[in-house]
Symmetry: C2
C-alpha cells in the first residue's frame, strides 16, 4: 500500500489501542525501538506519534516515554449557527429594534463595564417558511463612531457583527444552553399559544485579552431547534 510510513505507524498503534492490546497507562516502546521496528528514522516515528498525541490517543513525558491516554468521554464537538440549527434554516430576519441603552445589572456583569457605559441592543426575529422561530437579543458595548448600519445588522450573524471591530480569529466564544418557558413578550413574538418551551442559547464573545465584547441570547421555539454534537473525534488532523 502507498500509505506513508508515519501513517502506517499511526494506524498500527491505533489498532493496538483499539483492540485492547495497549491499554491506557501502558508505555509504548521507546522511539528508538520504534525506529527499528518500523525501519524508519526518528523524525518519521515522531511524526506518527505527534499525530496520535494530537488525536488524543497518547501523551508523552520527557525523559520517560510515550503512554496510552485515558480516552476523554466528556468532550464533544458542537455545531452551532444561530441561523442554521433549526429543523429548517432561517430564511428571513426581521429587525425589531436597534437602540442604545443604559446597561442593566446583568449586562454590567456580563460585559464587564461600568454602569455609565452605554450598550447597543439589537432585537431581531428569525423566520423559517414565514413562521417566527427564534427571538434574538444582542448587546455590545457602545464605542463612539461605531457604525450601526441597519442593513448589516439585519442579516448578520453575531460573530460577523462583532468582527467589524476585531479580527474574527481573535474572538473567543462561549455558549450556555438551557431550556425555559417563554414570557409573555416572547410568546407574542413567536406565536406561542400552548405549552411550548424554548431552547435558550446564550453566546458570549471575548477579544484576545478575554475582555467581553458581546453578549447574545437567542430564544428558539423548541419545536424548531435541535442542537447536534459528536464525540470530538480524531481524524480532524491534517493527514489525508
Amino acid at each position: 500500500m502507498g500509505l506513508p510510513i508515519y501513517l502506517q505507524i499511526v494506524e498500527d498503534i491505533k489498532e493496538k489501542i483499539n483492540s485492547g492490546e495497549l491499554k491506557p497507562g501502558d508505555a509504548l516502546y521507546s522511539e528508538n525501538t520504534l525506529c527499528k521496528t518500523y525501519n524508519a528514522s526518528r523524525m518519521t516515528v515522531r511524526k506518527g506519534l505527534a499525530i496520535l498525541a494530537g488525536e488524543g490517543y497518547i501523551y508523552s513525558i520527557p525523559g520517560k516515554g510515550n503512554f496510552v491516554k485515558e480516552p476523554d468521554s466528556t468532550t464533544y464537538t458542537l455545531y452551532y449557527d444561530e441561523k442554521n440549527n433549526l429543523i429548517n434554516s432561517v430564511d428571513k430576519t426581521k429587525l425589531l429594534e436597534v437602540n442604545i441603552i443604559m446597561p442593566t445589572s446583568k449586562l454590567i456583569e456580563a460585559l464587564q463595564i461600568t454602569k455609565n457605559k452605554k450598550v447597543i441592543m439589537i432585537r431581531r426575529l428569525f423566520y423559517t417558511d414565514g413562521e417566527p422561530v427564534a427571538y434574538d437579543l444582542k448587546y455590545l458595548p457602545y464605542y463612539k463612531g461605531m457604525p450601526i448600519v441597519e442593513k448589516e445588522i439585519r442579516y448578520a450573524t453575531f460573530p460577523e457583527i462583532v468582527s467589524k471591530k476585531t479580527s474574527l480569529f481573535a474572538i473567543k466564544k462561549e455558549l450556555i444552553i438551557s431550556a425555559q418557558m417563554p414570557d409573555e413578550e416572547i410568546r407574542r413574538h413567536l406565536n406561542i399559544y400552548n405549552e411550548l418551551p424554548l431552547m435558550v442559547v446564550e453566546q458570549k464573545l471575548y477579544d484576545i485579552e478575554d475582555k467581553p465584547i458581546g453578549l447574545g441570547i437567542t430564544y428558539f421555539r423548541s419545536d424548531y431547534c435541535k442542537l447536534y454534537a459528536q464525540a470530538s473525534f480524531r481524524d480532524k488532523t491534517s493527514h489525508e
Copy 2:
C-alpha cells in the same frame, strides 16, 4: 527568549493573522523563504506550519503554497457528562428498572436491529441533594451472556456501561439536544408540579464500524441543567 524556533514561527504568524496583516485566502511565504526569514531548517519551519494547520489557522495545497484559512465560527467544544452538567452534580443514582424488552419501532431504527432482537432497557433517576434532577433511559441490544450486574449499572455512566463490550477508544458518539415538556410519568419521577420544561439529551453510541451499540435519553429538569460549550479553540495541540 527560550521559545523553540518552531513556536516562535507559530506565534509570529498567528500575530500576523490576528492583527489582520494576513487575511483569509492570503498565501504565506513559501517554506523555503520562511527558512531564510527565520534562519531555520525546512523541517523546523514545517513543524510550525503543521501546528498552525492543526489549530485551524492555515491550510496547504501541494504544489501551490500555504494559505490563511477562513475561521470556523460554527464549531464549539461541548462538555457533556450526564452526571455533571447540573448546577450541582449527581450524588445519588436510583435504579428504577432493568429489563429485556422487544424493541419499539423507534428503537429498531435507532439501534438498526430487527424487530425480533431483544433490547436491554435501563431506567434510572439521578439525584442532587436528595432532589430528583434527571430521568434516564438507556437501551442496548441484548447479546447472550451479557453480564447485567445491577451494582454496575446503578452507578455507571453510559459510555462505561457500553465499554464492557467494546474498547472505549472504539466508540463514536453523537448527541442531540432539545427541549420539551415532561409527560405525566416524568413529572411524577422528577416532582414537577408547575410549568417546568426539560432539557433532553439523546446520546447514541456507535462501534468502530458505525454500528449502533447504545441509545440513551436523559431528561433533565431544566432548572438543574445548563450545558456549556466554548469555541473549539486552538491551543489544544501538543506544545506547552
